[in-house]
Structures are given as structure tokens and as C-alpha cells.
């Protein structure tokens, strides 16, 4: 885990598969304020590529970091606008 940023909320989508990690991340980000960071915990290995693709193709979000921690894929997404 990084200590370069503070995590505002954690979204647990462990056990859910495509398209849920992306779709639920989008909903959770909508509830955050600009600058806040969402931690997403997933077990779907496709979430590494999918969340990266989603963050790249979506305005107002930035993917700060992705970490593979055992069976858990951790994503850190910041709302930038």
C-alpha cells in the first residue's frame, strides 16, 4: 500500500466479475468529491486491464496505482474533476 495518498473510501468487489468491478467503481467515484481517492478490492484478474482502460477512457478520474496482493487486486482511483 502506498502512503503517498489518503484513501477516502474502499469498494469491495471481491468475488464479482466483469463488468461489475468497473461499473461499481464508476458509481462509487460519482459519490466522491474532487481529489478524493477510492480503493477498489477485486479478485477478478481482468480488473487490472479493465480498470486501467476505464480510467484512461474516462474524464475526471486518474488511476494512481494498481497492486497485486496475493489473490486480491487493489486499485487506487482518484477523482480529478
Amino acid at each position: 500500500m502506498s502512503d503517498e495518498f489518503d484513501i477516502t473510501e474502499t469498494l469491495d468487489v471481491k468475488g464479482a466479475s466483469c463488468p461489475m468491478p468497473v461499473v461499481k467503481t464508476k458509481s462509487a467515484i460519482d459519490d466522491l468529491a474532487e481529489g478524493e481517492v477510492l480503493e477498489v478490492l477485486a479478485t477478478d484478474s481482468g480488473s487490472m486491464s479493465d480498470l486501467d482502460g476505464w480510467a484512461t477512457g474516462t474524464d475526471g478520474v486518474e488511476l494512481l496505482e494498481q497492486v497485486e496482493d496475493g489473490d486480491i487486486y487493489k486499485h487506487y482511483v482518484q477523482k480529478t474533476a
Partner: protein, 193 residues
């Protein structure tokens, strides 16, 4: 589109200051609306869903809900058997076809036996549950929540003798091929499933 930009009044006399001012405001408005049109980088996607089997219900719904997460403007136009996906009663009872499906681990002669479609569907449903994949109903609710426009073709509603009330709340009815084409023409992505 009108391209006339008169520098003089209709009678050939130079325009008054007020008339010029009015004309300038008119043009500024036009430029602003064109800028919005051109600068509108929101992507649009139209999917035409024609199939009503269990397996074929998934791809349009997964793509639609994900595209909505990207902030895209999404229309899914359901026609023929695709209508069953939006049909509140039928959507929970969509079947996988065991016959003529080379991915089924059984010969066609066996797959044609009564009850085989139900069995194949049950197997697939179990797999979906184990895998943590969303159900069709969940994906429909999710898509509607996210503003996906799920449309049911009016002609096929009548052809299949369905009622507009048979569909999930939020489904758009009273639309036809022209509506679908208009969305497709404006879309960056058009898919037929």
C-alpha cells in the same frame, strides 16, 4: 443550413447599428451551438439486440453497462427475440440451446431430447453463480440505473403479441427502425448482436 450573411439590409441600405448588433448576437449563438456540437466528445454507442437465448443476452448488457460507466450515451435497440431480454417474466427464464451448439459437451442426438435445453441452462446458471457473474436481471437494472436507453421495438412487440406493460420499468417503447437508424448514424460504435 443557412449561410447567408447579409452586410446590408434587404433594401440594399447599410444595416443600422441595432440590426448589426442583432445579427452579431444571432451569429454568436450559432457559433456557440456549433462549437458544442463539434466539441462534444461524448462517445455514443448503439447496439441492436436480436437474440433471446440465455447466452446471447449477456454481451449487449455487459457492453452497455460498461459503456455507461465510461460516461457514453448508450442505446440498446431490442428487436425480435431480443425483446425477451427486456420482458420482465421471460428474462428470468431465457434458455440456452443445447442443439446445434458445438460448445455443448454432448452430441446433437442427445441434445435434442426433452429437457436438455433446461439442463444446459441450469448448468450455465450454476457456472455463472460460481464465477460471480451478474444475472441478466442485475445487468438490466444496472444499465437502467446508469442511464442506458433500453429500447423495445414497437413492431416486434405487436408481432410477438406482447404488451408494453410486460417490460421492465424504464424500458423505452414506441420506437422503430427509424429511431434506431438515427441513433446509429450519430454513434461512434454500432453493434448487431
Amino acid at each position: 443550413m443557412s449561410t447567408d450573411t447579409p452586410s446590408a439590409g434587404a433594401d440594399g441600405e447599410p444595416m443600422s447599428e441595432d440590426a448589426l448588433q442583432e445579427r452579431i448576437e444571432e451569429l454568436e449563438e450559432k457559433v456557440a451551438s456549433l462549437e458544442t456540437e463539434v466539441g462534444d466528445d461524448q462517445k455514443k454507442m448503439t447496439i441492436v439486440a436480436t437474440q433471446g437465448t440465455f447466452d446471447m443476452a449477456y454481451p449487449p448488457l455487459i457492453l452497455a453497462s460498461t459503456a455507461a460507466a465510461f460516461g457514453w450515451d448508450v442505446v440498446v435497440f431490442h428487436t425480435f427475440w431480443g425483446l425477451d431480454i427486456l420482458h420482465e417474466e421471460k428474462s428470468s427464464d431465457l434458455k440456452l440451446s443445447a442443439v446445434g451448439n458445438p460448445n455443448m459437451p454432448m452430441p446433437n442426438a442427445l441434445a435434442a431430447l426433452p429437457g436438455m435445453d433446461r439442463m444446459a441452462t441450469r448448468m450455465m446458471e450454476n457456472k455463472i453463480d460460481e464465477n460471480g457473474t451478474a444475472t441478466i436481471e442485475e445487468l438490466i437494472e444496472l444499465s437502467l440505473d446508469q442511464g442506458v436507453d433500453l429500447q423495445a421495438c414497437q413492431m416486434t412487440i405487436e408481432l410477438m403479441e406482447y404488451d408494453e406493460d410486460d417490460f421492465y420499468d424504464g424500458v423505452t417503447t414506441g420506437v422503430g427502425a427509424a429511431t434506431a437508424l438515427q441513433h446509429m448514424a450519430e454513434s461512434d460504435i454500432q453493434l448487431l448482436v
